[in-house]
Amino acid sequence: MKSHYNFAFFDEGSKREIRRATLKAIAIPGYQVPFASREMPIARGWGTGGLQLTLSLIGKEDVLKVIDQGSDESVNAVNIKKLVSHTAGIRSTEETEEATIIQSRHRIPEVPLKSGQILVLQVPMPEPLRVYEPSELETKKLHAEKEYSGAWVMLFEHIMKYGTAATGADHPVMVHNRYVMAPSPIPRFDNPKMDHSKALILLGAGREKKIYAVPPYTRVKSIDFDDSPFRVESFEDKSCRLCGSTGVFMDEIVDDQSGEAVYQCNDTSYCLAQMNKNMPVGGTSNEQV
C-alpha cells in the first residue's frame, strides 16, 4: 500500500534517540534508561513503550508477532500489528518460532525463545520500588545505592499477611545481581523464562518514559527468602480443556451457571498449535472443539 508515513512511522531522529537509549539499556542490564517517549497514534498506557521499541528495531525483513495477555487476536495486539505493518510494510505472524520480533503485553510465549529473536515487553510501571516510594528522585537514589531492603520488606509483609508472596504478576527480579527490576506484569510463571534467556529482552514504558533490557544469558533471579523460596503459579493436575496441554500457564474460566471452574491455555497460538497436532492426519475430526 502507498503509505504517507515514514518507514516504521517514526522520523529518523526519533529512532536514533530510542536506539541510543536501547544501547545503554543493554550495557546496564535492568537499569531504567530515560527516553523521550514520542506521542503515538495510540494512547499512552496502551503499549506505546513497546511499540516505540518495535518501530526503532523493525526492518523490511522482519516478521512481527504481537500478543496481548497471551492472545494474538485481542484489540490491542491487532491494532499494534496493523500500525506496524501498514507503516513498515512487514509481515506479521502468530507463530512464535517464525517471528523475529515479538511484542508482548503480560506474557512470555510458551514456545521457548530462540537466539536471534527479540522480545519486546510493554511496561505500565517500570519502577519496582514505586509501591513504597512515590518520588522518582528517591527511587533513583535507592537504585544508585543498591538499597533494596524495601522490596524485601514488601515481600515479607505479603508472607506475614497471606502466608505466601501475593505478588501475582510483576514479581520483582534481581538482574545481574545489581538492579531490582520490574519484569512487567508477566505472571510469576514466566519469571524463570527471563533467566539466561536465549533471546534479547527489551522493555519499554511509554507513559513513564523508560527503556530497559535483559541481554541474553543474564542472571535474572526473582526476589525471595531462603526459608520462603520463590514459587510459580501451580497448574498441577490441571489441563487445558481445548488442547489438553499440561504444565503451561492457564486461565481459569468459571461457568456462571454451574459455578464450575475450567482451565484453558492462556497462550492462544500455542493452544491452537497443540490442537492442530492432535488432529488426525486428513483432519476429519473436529468434534473435540
Binding site: 516504521a8 543493554i26 550495557a27 526492518g59 536471534g116
Partner: protein
Amino acid sequence: MKLDLVHDIQTAYRKVIDSMSRPGTVSDISDEASKVAVQTDRFPSTAILALMFLDTEVTFKVFSRREEEVTKWINGWTYAKAVEADEADFLFVLADADEVKMKTAIDAAKAGTLMNPHESAVLIMETDELNAGTELVLTGPGIQEKQLISVPNASAWMNKREEKNSEYPLGVDFIFTDAEGYVLCLPRTTQVREKVMM
C-alpha cells in the same frame, strides 16, 4: 550504490544491537559500510556508527592525527557538536591515533554517575583487523559461558578499560570497528582476560 539512511542504518543497527547484547560476537556491516562515500582513510564502518547514533542532541570528540578533518566530516553529516573529551557522549579513537591518545580518551571518557550511569560515553575504537592479535576470554551478561575473541594490540586499552569500569554500573561501553567492516562490542559488564596458554 548510495547509502540508504533509513534501511541501511536499520540493518546495521540490528547487527550492532546483536553484538552489544552478545559481547564478543563479531557482526558484519561491510554491506552497509561499502555504500559510504568517504574521502578520508577513516573506516566506513566507523562512519556508519556516526550516522546511526549522532545528531544535534549529542556530542562527540575525535582522537586522530586528522582530528580537524574528521570532526568536520562528522559534524557536517550529523550536526552533532564537537566538545572536549570529558563531556563527549561519543568518542572516536581512529586507527591512526597512537597509544597515548587512546589512553587519554579512555581516561577522559564520561563514566556516568551512580544515579545516572547511562550518562556515560560510548568509545568507538578503530582497529586494523578484528579476529587477529591478542586472544582474549570474555565473560559476563550476554555470554553463555565464555567467549573467545582476538583484538589487535589489546594491551593498549585493557588495563585502562578495567580501571574505568571498576565501579559498576559506572563505566564506558566500547564498540570496535575494523577496515573490513566488522564490528565487536564490549559493554561495561563484560570481563576481559587475556587467554592463558596451557
